[in-house]
Symmetry: C2
């Protein structure tokens, strides 16, 4: 019978991030992670399907929060404001796990395969946001365009935040990035 381990999931996530940063993602095995956390591989697999899930397991929750935030925007909100409301909800989640999110981002930025996975995850968020806009009666291509451009603005803010290129917090950087998007037409 499995022994109950206090905060096993948190300890595994912490151990994984430490090892990914020390040795690189590829060079870290599930056995290494379990050992560092003082737990068994079996316990690891009770929480995660594989080591990638330590980094991407919260993706569904992130997307759901964004969709929920966008869905709850005022009925007369402009399309980009609907997208911004959704992104705000996602950003709040990341700020609430700031230390984890930042270290996670630096592991991802060191590995092209993980960057691709992140890109695909964000494409899925954009598709979900476009659906929210269509459900509000916004036609294509405006719905997809607004969603994709808004998500691009978020991604750029997130990269700057993760790489520490900019000292502002993520909500502030996301607002600035969305403002730059809104300014595109006046600049052109």
């Amino acid at each position: 019978m499995a022994r109950w381990e206090p905060n096993a999931q948190g300890r595994l996530a912490e151990a994984a991030l430490e090892l990914f940063a020390e040795r690189g993602y590829e060079q870290t095995t599930v056995a290494d992670i379990a050992e560092r956390a003082g737990l068994t591989k079996r316990t690891f697999f009770r929480y995660y399907a594989d080591k990638r899930e330590v980094l991407f397991g919260a993706g569904t929750e992130f997307q759901d929060l964004i969709v929920e935030g966008a869905t709850g925007a005022a009925p007369d909100a402009a399309p980009l404001d609907v997208v911004a409301a959704g992104l705000r909800a996602g950003v709040d989640m990341l700020e609430g796990r700031r230390a984890f999110a930042r270290r996670r981002a630096s592991v991802i930025s060191a590995n092209p395969e993980l960057q691709e996975r992140e890109l695909i995850k964000m494409a899925s968020v954009a598709k979900a946001l476009a659906q929210v806009l269509r459900d509000r009666g916004i036609a294509e291509p405006e719905a997809s365009l607004t969603a994709e451009a808004g998500v691009a603005a978020f991604r750029i803010a997130f990269e700057r935040w993760a790489q520490g290129e900019d000292l502002r917090d993520l909500p502030e950087l996301t607002r600035a990035s969305l403002a730059a998007l809104r300014a595109l037409s006046s600049a052109a």
Copy 2:
């Protein structure tokens, strides 16, 4: 010694697209493609490293044309106009191979793994365009934001064109998509 085969590369590409459409991409082997083209596997590998390269081999040329088009924009062009000039060059290449590009797109849209590959390719185009803008003195995050949003506008136009949802040609659809991007700020 290899026998010279007239237009071997074109025949292989044609055979590959036929088979991908008939059987699906996963179910088609290099041997199938060579057989359909009336050529040997050995001839196939003289032109392509694998079957995926039939679809993605022109990616570098596409990106180079876009970078060249953007680099050649007027020195005082606004950032989004620089991106638009680059995209125009890429779109012209696709229109010049319209039948191939359209069938290729429909194979890709039927396969999530190929869609991911296409997404990653377009992310690389956006990064290259952001570099062109930085070389012109545009600061971050404006450079990345303009490039990413412009490429998103192109992707949306391209999907509509490939899926035949819209009967306009690709240059026209791309112009309309970029115009919708420019209109985002006024709509918000």
